[in-house]
């Protein structure tokens, strides 16, 4: 099978500092791949190498089979890119900026007007199309950036932190837009972000990047299991009262590791989901559970946990 993006042992060294250090990356057609990692992990640098905007120190990267370093033009023809800090010509209107992009892409003028109108309405900027980009707010610029990636009708779109500095409503719109790009146009998407709960919602697969390489990769669930696997699950119970012997009898259940008590809340860490056994023990000791919760790990926790452990 042909990969949309395929990077092998990609490395980038800046004056002795390894920004990307043996990155292996494979993205399938039609999937949304989330690139997660703390500041300075090497996400942007990897993206720049994917687009031939910087040269790898070693290793190679291919996009739709084209080598990004040797043949960047072919890659850029089919790839839309939203940079970290998108900028447009401030004295040109939104529409003029997009028209300029279609010209750079060699799209014939007869076709470009229609395309520009279409993407403007897709990102919801039709109303302000004739406003100068210099007067746009951060969120509008970001949406114009999305329009700019779409106007060339790409097969792959690379978004570097598309939701940075955007209000919650704007984030919602952008996330929906990304989903729509995938579902309606079958565009493959690579997305880098810090905001895990957002990524969690829209990504088919994620890769956690740390110190220049992907350390864990898979679907959100798989990644959660990989990191939390050793940690087991956690059950939180509120009991009506703490009867004597209750804690001991819970501890005796096979698979329970330890219990934290605060007030009448019990935090039970165990190997697997033992809610049935725990509630039986509670009832046997003459009290009853008021509240039962298994902890659903969010990506946030996974992520925080992963990087705390380093």
């Amino acid at each position: 099978m042909e990969w949309v993006v395929e990077a092998n042992q990609l490395k980038k060294v800046y004056n002795g500092v390894k920004a990307v250090d043996g990155m292996d990356l494979r993205i399938k057609e039609g999937e949304i791949f989330g690139f997660l990692g703390p500041n300075g992990a090497g996400k942007t640098t990897t993206i720049l190498m994917l687009l031939g905007l910087t040269e790898p120190t070693s290793g190679e990267v291919k996009v739709f089979g084209y080598n990004s370093t040797k043949n960047p033009l072919e890659v850029k023809r089919i790839t839309g890119y939203l940079p970290e800090n998108i900028g447009f010509y401030e004295d040109l209107t939104a529409r003029e900026n997009l028209i300029y992009i279609t010209k750079l892409n060699g799209i014939p003028p007869s076709e470009s007007a229609a395309r520009v109108e279409e993407v403007l309405s897709v990102v919801g900027l039709s109303e302000v199309a004739d406003k100068e980009a210099g007067k746009f707010s951060r969120g509008m610029l970001q949406r114009l950036g999305m329009a700019a990636t779409l106007v060339k009708q790409p097969k792959l779109v690379i978004l570097d932190e598309p939701t940075l500095g955007i209000d919650p409503e704007g984030v919602e719109q952008i996330l929906n837009l990304i989903r729509k790009m995938k579902e309606e146009k079958n565009i493959t998407i690579l997305l880098s972000s810090h905001f895990l709960h957002q990524v969690q919602r829209i990504c088919d697969r994620i890769g956690i990047v740390s110190q220049g390489k992907i350390v864990i990769e898979g679907s959100v669930d798989e990644v959660g299991e990989k990191i939390m696997g050793e940690g087991g699950t956690q059950i939180q119970v509120q009991v009506s009262q703490l009867t004597p012997g209750l804690l001991d009898s819970i501890k005796e259940i096979e698979g329970v590791r330890d219990i934290d008590v605060s007030g009448n809340f019990l935090n039970i860490r165990c190997d697997r989901d033992l809610r049935l056994e725990v509630s039986r023990a509670i009832v046997e000791k003459g009290c009853f559970p008021l509240l039962f919760k298994t902890q659903d790990y969010t990506l946030e926790e996974i992520y925080v946990r992963y990087f705390r452990e380093r």
Partner: protein, 312 residues
Amino acid sequence: MSGIRVILWKEMVDYFGSKRFLILFIIICLTGISVAYLASQNLGSFAHIPGEFLLLGFFISSAGSLPSFTFFVSFFGPLIGLILGFDAISGERSRGTISMVLSQPVFRDSLINGKFLAGLATIAVMFVSIFLIILGLGIWTLGFSPNLEEISRIGVYYLASVVYVGFWLSLGILFSILFRRTSSSALTSIMMWIFFTFFIYMIANVVADQIAPVAAVTTPEVVAKNEAIRRMILRISPAALFDQIATAVLNPSVRAFGFINPAQISGLLPTPLSLGQSLMIVWPEFVGLVALMLICFAVSYVVFMRQEIRSL
């Protein structure tokens, strides 16, 4: 080829529509008009100019306290080039547009070629305007039409001016590539300007006087050596090269530069040279000026092609 026409066109529209251009253009036109006007008020200073080259006087004569037009070009021309070039790339970088443009399917050199050519075209248009103003006013004042020889000399001088300012444009572009910050690029540009149009003359004098001091009584050989050293040092300054080209092209009677042993010219008739002969004198300087511009551009090109395209 990909994209260069689109970028070139956009850059030209940008340059011609910018406030920067408007201000420069107004200053230049005012300069042209005042130079021509003052020269016409001061036709007496044309006395040394042979009759058939009177029109050239408008470019070289300095009227009253004001310097000549050639001085204006050689001294302030660099500023025009630098002003057009100093933020060519760093400006795109700081506005974040460089990532937007270079993630489109265009060759990376299209951006810098487009900027350089657009800048050069802008300079060419500015100079055409000012030359036409001076020519027009000159012809009007003198009351007779120019001859072919005058026109071709002015044409050559025009070409040299565009190349000269083009050199400063490419230097500005080079700094805009080397420095991430536009302010560093601007400062360095100004420093280079001061150095090459000002300090280099002092340095050349000091060095020449150190190696071959000219005392009250010295042999012509020492004077010649002193002058030769001075000229050699000045050869690295585009301003000095341009001055010599201007002098030779606009003064048909200039036969040589530097120290002239009276014995060499005794017996020669002071007839004006033909344009071809004048060009022979400054041929090396002309080539040198073009080479400087191209080298500077080539360095920018090589550096830029290897640079990382990351918006800040």
